[in-house]
């Protein structure tokens, strides 16, 4: 033995995500890192003349959307198609769901047609987990109630990392309706695990009780949040949920919490502004900010496809037994 051996193993080698992606609360820092790193080479696939690789050839994926969505559903569909999977979209309206079929029956019927993965968006918190425990297919949570929206948070993390080089020590303030926001919850989990500092800012009526206990700084004035933060993640004011008297009026909300050009100009440093879309221009964010130099909003959309390709790639064929938080034993051989 001469002590020579090829030692350079890439970071993330041997790590698995298991069977499902349900939320960032359940992922380790290493697993989040793996997803973000894997997204990098997938960005380039979408820049090729032929935007397609054969990786998921022969896999069937169902996009099961019980809530309206354009961006997330289309983003998943592009990701699936660019990996050569066969995809079917099911929207609750116009499907057997309207006739009263329950979630498990719908899923079991799909299983009977031999599917491999399900992407689910559902108004009830915990719907993705409920489904994942009942079918052998890989399940990806595309948003469940107020609970989590892991792929959105992952593309947010990637966009921040692209802009600032790292997430470690970055101060991110999530602004707006935190209470009803699955995007906020997933972001808080993900950012804290990756070593970022998290703040939240919004009307008291829209901040969940006990948000400090998750490890977030709470700001009641947007000016304080702007003075503190490196990044603002501006959430959509969910107009459909504003009947409950949470805010006096949209105009008032904009006056007190709106991200305006003037407020950013008074900030001590250059801020990066994210928004998960769809935007209410002139309410939580002004057009000049949304379309201005601080905004990475369209970059987020581009990154969304790459992140979802990475997740589909990493999950495909994964089983619960193969889940490993910190690296698995089975080695990946060279193919020669």
């Amino acid at each position: 033995m001469n002590g020579l051996t090829s030692s350079a193993k890439p970071a993330g080698a041997g790590l698995s995500l298991g069977k499902d992606l349900l939320g960032l609360e359940l992922l380790s820092r290493e697993q989040i890192q793996l997803i973000l790193d894997t997204a990098e080479p997938f960005k380039a696939v979408s820049e090729r003349a032929i935007k397609k690789v054969p990786t998921l050839r022969g896999k069937t994926i169902v996009n099961l959307f019980y809530e309206a969505s354009t961006r997330t559903r289309v983003s998943f569909e592009f990701a699936e198609k660019r990996l050569s999977a066969d995809t079917v979209n099911i929207a609750a309206s116009g499907s057997s769901v309207e006739k009263g079929e329950n979630l498990v029956d719908t899923a079991r019927n799909l299983e009977a047609m031999r599917i491999d993965m399900v992407v689910i968006r559902h108004p009830s918190s915990g719907a993705a987990k409920f489904l994942a425990e009942r079918i052998p297919s890989n399940v990806i949570n595309a948003g469940d109630g107020w609970h989590e929206h892991p792929t959105q948070a992952l593309l947010d993390l990637l966009s921040i990392r692209d802009k600032l080089g790292s997430l470690e020590g970055v101060k991110v303030c999530i602004c707006g309706d935190i209470l009803h926001s699955r995007v906020a919850r997933s972001n808080i989990w993900g950012l804290l695990k990756m070593g970022a500092e998290v703040g939240v800012c919004g009307p008291k009526s829209l901040l969940p009780r006990g948000v400090e206990s998750l490890g977030a700084h709470v700001f009641s004035h947007i000016e304080e949040a702007i003075a503190w933060a490196d990044v603002l993640n501006v959430l959509r004011l969910q107009l459909e949920r504003m009947q409950g008297g949470y805010i006096p009026s949209l105009g008032e909300y904009n006056r007190v919490f709106g991200i305006t050009e003037e407020r950013l100009e008074n900030a001590p440093k250059e801020l990066v502004v994210l928004h998960p879309g769809p935007m209410n221009r002139g309410v939580e964010i002004d057009s000049k900010v949304a379309d201005g130099p601080h905004s990475v909003i369209l970059h987020q959309v581009t990154n969304g496809v790459a992140v979802r390709m990475a997740i589909l790639y990493l999950l495909a064929g994964g089983t619960a037994e193969r889940a490993s938080l910190h690296g698995a034993k089975d080695e990946i051989g060279e193919v020669g």
Binding site: L4, T5, P10, P41, G317, D330, E334, V335
Partner: protein
């Protein structure tokens, strides 16, 4: 690495250097018009070898050889069967491939499956006039009808053996090592 493993050095740093010289000579003769040549290295050590070969061809023919890097992970034929997914590295083909003479460069040729994947991936980038294959070590054991045009060193390795190519750029040293595996 198992302490009980038996290993011996097939090529040391000087021998790798001379082998690459010989391979670059063969490439220069092989090609005719070097302006049509492009090298594509397979991640990860194939990329470093391609870079070294491009340097040598530049000295010989006084012309810049365009270089690309290919990661074949997404084209592998065994993704359905393996556990944790392999780490995906970058594919970067900055030059036009159509009508070029492309030489794929890799460290070790074994089953031929990597090269099959590489050929499929290259086809998604263009239609080269011709594609060749150069490897530092051919260890035999093919599972597909694929062979190299330019070979640095031929060896006979058992299917259980491992051939490790160590390169300065990745491993901090240059060597080709044969690690004897247990016969099953």
């Amino acid at each position: 690495m198992n302490v009980a493993e038996e290993s011996n050095t097939l090529l040391d740093a000087g021998e790798i250097d001379r082998t690459l010289d010989k391979m670059a000579d063969e490439m220069a003769n092989f090609v005719g018009d070097a302006r049509a040549l492009a090298l594509v290295g397979i991640q990860r050590r194939g990329v470093d070898l391609a870079r070294r070969l491009a340097e040598r061809i530049k000295q010989r023919l006084d012309c810049e050889v365009p270089m690309g890097a290919l990661d074949i992970t997404l084209y592998r034929d065994d993704l359905q069967t393996i556990g944790p997914k392999p780490v995906v590295a970058h594919t970067d083909i900055p030059m036009e491939l159509t009508d070029r003479y492309v030489i794929i460069v890799d460290d070790v040729l074994f089953t031929g499956r990597t090269i099959r994947a590489a050929l499929a991936e290259l086809a998604d980038f263009g239609r080269p006039a011709r594609i060749g294959l150069a490897v530092l070590v051919d260890r035999g054991g093919r599972e597909l009808p694929i062979q190299a045009d330019i070979v640095g060193k031929n060896i006979e390795a058992d299917v259980h053996d491992r051939v490790d190519v160590l390169l300065e750029e990745v491993d901090g040293t240059d060597a080709v090592v044969l690690v004897r595996g247990e016969k099953k």
